[in-house]
Symmetry: C4
Subunit: 375 residues, 4 copies
Amino acid sequence: MNDIKKPLPPLDYIPADIACAYDYEQLAQAFIPADILAYIAGGSGHDITQRNNQTAFQDWAIVPRLLADLTNANTEAQLFGQHFKHPVFLAPVAYQSLVHPQGERETASAAEATDSCMITSTLASVTLEQIVARAKPPRWFQLYFQSRPEDTHALINRALAAGYEAIVVTLDAAIQAPSIRAIRAGFKLPGNISAANLAHQRPDEPLQQRPGDSPIFARYRQQAPALQHLAELIKASPVPVIIKGVMHPDDALQLKALGAAGIIVSNHGGRTLDGAPASLSVLAAIRCAVGDGFPLLFDSGIRSGSDIFKAIALGADAVLIGRLQMYSLSVAGALGVAHMIKLLREELELCMAMTGCASLAAIRATQLQTTLSGH
Amino acid sequence: MNDIKKPLPPLDYIPADIACAYDYEQLAQAFIPADILAYIAGGSGHDITQRNNQTAFQDWAIVPRLLADLTNANTEAQLFGQHFKHPVFLAPVAYQSLVHPQGERETASAAEATDSCMITSTLASVTLEQIVARAKPPRWFQLYFQSRPEDTHALINRALAAGYEAIVVTLDAAIQAPSIRAIRAGFKLPGNISAANLAHQRPDEPLQQRPGDSPIFARYRQQAPALQHLAELIKASPVPVIIKGVMHPDDALQLKALGAAGIIVSNHGGRTLDGAPASLSVLAAIRCAVGDGFPLLFDSGIRSGSDIFKAIALGADAVLIGRLQMYSLSVAGALGVAHMIKLLREELELCMAMTGCASLAAIRATQLQTTLSGH
Amino acid sequence: MNDIKKPLPPLDYIPADIACAYDYEQLAQAFIPADILAYIAGGSGHDITQRNNQTAFQDWAIVPRLLADLTNANTEAQLFGQHFKHPVFLAPVAYQSLVHPQGERETASAAEATDSCMITSTLASVTLEQIVARAKPPRWFQLYFQSRPEDTHALINRALAAGYEAIVVTLDAAIQAPSIRAIRAGFKLPGNISAANLAHQRPDEPLQQRPGDSPIFARYRQQAPALQHLAELIKASPVPVIIKGVMHPDDALQLKALGAAGIIVSNHGGRTLDGAPASLSVLAAIRCAVGDGFPLLFDSGIRSGSDIFKAIALGADAVLIGRLQMYSLSVAGALGVAHMIKLLREELELCMAMTGCASLAAIRATQLQTTLSGH
Amino acid sequence: MNDIKKPLPPLDYIPADIACAYDYEQLAQAFIPADILAYIAGGSGHDITQRNNQTAFQDWAIVPRLLADLTNANTEAQLFGQHFKHPVFLAPVAYQSLVHPQGERETASAAEATDSCMITSTLASVTLEQIVARAKPPRWFQLYFQSRPEDTHALINRALAAGYEAIVVTLDAAIQAPSIRAIRAGFKLPGNISAANLAHQRPDEPLQQRPGDSPIFARYRQQAPALQHLAELIKASPVPVIIKGVMHPDDALQLKALGAAGIIVSNHGGRTLDGAPASLSVLAAIRCAVGDGFPLLFDSGIRSGSDIFKAIALGADAVLIGRLQMYSLSVAGALGVAHMIKLLREELELCMAMTGCASLAAIRATQLQTTLSGH
């Protein structure tokens, strides 16, 4: 135990020395216990993908433009007929009570205050209804398929009843990839924190494993959603179904053909396959595959407004903020999350003004300059 | 407060241990208060562009040549019918009194002593007339459009009356991008320093912001010069109008078509859009766009004579020196600035001798070798 | 002597803090004396190739896939009509008694326990028969040609009599390249450890050197196997003959034409020519040269299941584990080696599940993404 | 003064802990005074080219080959009808008494003992005749053109009379580029060391400088050899004239057309134009320009036998050793230099054996593998 400093409780004001959204990452070190921080900050394995997610943004430079006409400049987005004031979405992050006693309730308040779309996780530490009570639309529900279909249906119905307006199905986490960093830090989910919306479910069936069979493969077969179940869900859903965790153009095309309303390019913030490419590095190819009009969101590695600008320029319609959400939540609750989003927006708008982009569509039409040769 | 050492006053001699122009950067640490140094040295945001401006020069190597004929070797340049003994110009740097009690007056003396073209900033801390009193031509005036046209016109007329021979319009700083480094250092413009030539202006009108509108976009609309105003200025000006802050070939072409006499490739030393490409990395493409005869100057990142050589080889007619100007000014006033320019010239001439280039035109005809593969 | 800590004796349990196979490398520092560790860990010369062997894997990323069908997923391999439950082979590593009193006997037990193919070294520190007594097939024998043909024949016959089912001829170590690291550490083979299977051989003939001749070339001529001898061995062998140490497609083609049953791409873990390319960097070209059906194994640099995945994707049918074998042996004997292999298998299976690969053939059909541009 | 340790006197034995030729660089730190070491080790400017000279070798890997026939393997070279037992030449390094009281006399003894071609510098600190007394052929003389033609002729005649068999004209150092490192270290040539062979010359004429003229250009005009003088020298010389300091294919072609017997690709060990490319990076293009049969030597950056192998593979017929010569001389005089050369030869032979190259011609026919992608 090198670090015996006790984590600070969340502030009820915005700390004075925050100069940019990214500063919340550094500041959060003092507010989150070391083992929980390792769990949140770490990726799977040796964090290779987690690190690459961020450094990939350095491969691109944004070319300033002059004499722009910003008469009607705005950051608005339209997706599935829904209107969004800005493209900064709150990613589905599990167990937010790990960093704030009010957990996702605070995040919901911040979403409400900043007109942000919050995507509530299946593994939220407070109930779907408690979150809805705090945040007006847009609000989406993130779904992990449960091992029993009836549990999955029950979750969906409950979310729809509560007023969630889209379902985000995460497909890339059928099997848990261990985080070396979290293991070393001795992280375990504290006893007082749990998946509030799964509390009533029976425990999983025991693993069905043939003799000589790999437990890894067996677990995957048990837990990964089958193509057929996904197809049925899409068909039956009264709200748009969006698939999260897509990293290959062929998967994107298959999902589009299956009827998905949109997809989220994501490697789960580097928390699934360590050694996967940076999400940003596959974005343009996936946009190219699905075509211009198809809703495409981006997740993994965003730390600044210029990162958002780059993701949009490379094909995204909107972006999801994961770790910064937890960091700002730990520092100052709803106030922190709202401030973090405000900073990201301003940083994005600054990029837009300096590049003469009056809309997200104008960003998309922009050509970034690679830094891989010639800085 | 780690660093409690008091900054040294400017010397009245050239310090013995200066071995190259770049040494002034290191030496200046002892002569400039920490917060002011952060303001001068820092770029916007996280200094990404500011750093890349310098490292971009490492992407190129200069191939030595043998048996050169240097009979009539010189560093002379002709631009807009004006004659320059060398291509090392003093960039428009604001508030020079921050580092020397005599401010721009000292710089002007150095310009006079070294036959250098000094470009006086709109934000000079002494008056245009005080500067002219010290420096014979060539001397140019850098213009920021003011939010009221009448203020802009008054400034121009005053500069022309004082004998400035060209107007450099800076277009890339319509909106202020914060420097994390300067914020952290707590920099604020000291009360005894101000823009001497704007002293008589009325304060800006309050920001006009629609409900839900972004303050960033609103401020841009208020402060950025409109295309029409620029066109009128160019048309009306009795002296050449040169545009500073160009980073995209299309902007260069538009400005050329508009009647600009020349352009300055610059990202404002990394002080505007953090994440913009290194200025050097866009230079060749812009030269290619505007064609061979069009006056093209280069700014951002120059620290040595070989940097100047590279910028000229990649398309520049002359270069602007910003930070080294402030560093040498802080160390030894006019003497320091003059010495710094002398060193840069000698470093440039050494490169010319070793590559067999007897003129700037010969440098332009030189092919640099990329170091991105094969050192 | 900075490090005076005595090495720990091997454990009889698996240490709690092992989170991945690679962890054995770090842990082994405490179990292996410094000079022996330098000998094992070091490559030849300045370890350039040894380091590159590992970093080469970072040049590739593995793209996750969704909605896989893993119904019959397995890691089985067929080579030369032999069946292997998984592609993780134990490389021929000399003198294993350096790190465990029971030496190769423990490794053999681990091979048995994990259904792994163990390749016994000519320089094993226990007898071929002692190893066979511990490990059921598959088991292969690695051959260094001896300077006298009769010694070579005797070794082969003894291995066949003992039940070894393939002969791996190592061709890349005809001449010893010194390891700077081992020299600095003062490594010498301890008196109580020797090549148990060569104990009865007469000492080598003295070197035949012409006047002015290089001792290096003379030694090579004396010790390197001649093409003719290899051809005779291949022709006469009742079991498959596999060549280890191939780094060039032309050598691979020549050996295939000569009748080799398979080849092992390897630079001897960076222990021969310092400055040789990473083994991984030549793998795809060699696979391309020999064609799809020809047995191709890979050695040098593997530290994780994702490394194995990458090697297979780039053309390997199976991989050899060298240093991790010694590290895990030093930490916990047979138990350690078995655990290390189990971890590598699980890490490989995790990659397979996340990329939707139900077989090694599916991995081979996968396209890795280069990280050299775009992370 | 951080380092107050007194430099050690040269040893009369070879230190035990030398594992490779490169080790002499490290060891020499203890034998050479800090200011002299800065002068020897430093390049010009900020040592950019000096460093790149060495790292450029890392851009290439050497691919091992199997089953080589080394029956008649040797390292012999033929150049200008002269025979060389190996391609490791001693570069012309000035003022060798700086690191050993006997100076070049010791180096000459080492050349004799190792059958090496020593190239004596115009700036040798002992006389041409003293060197010849110690070293049998091959021996060459390096010439700097003197500012008075009669001095140049006298030097040449004296060298020919003493038995030097080739003249190496250095063209790249007409003008001195300062070394920041040597300046900082306060290096000045000690009073007891001088250019022994120039002792009788009258001092240079004062610099002829026009008003407003650059002293740099003026000095170049005074000191650089004119094309005509070089042509006359080549025409009149009874021995081969080889040009040192060539970095551009066009210069190589011009010199070949002028009648030069051979050229030496060199950037003077990074001591002339800081920012010049690594010598290795221009070698292949120059070989390509001059064609296969033309004698081409390589200088700058060699630290090991594998460096030599790479230079030969990229086009060199032989290589010059500069700094390692001074380092080994400082450590153990003639013994050290001879040992250093022996180590380089053995390192080269090891590379040859492992790549199946039985001659320098075979190395030339070898294709290196780039490490710029794929290690």
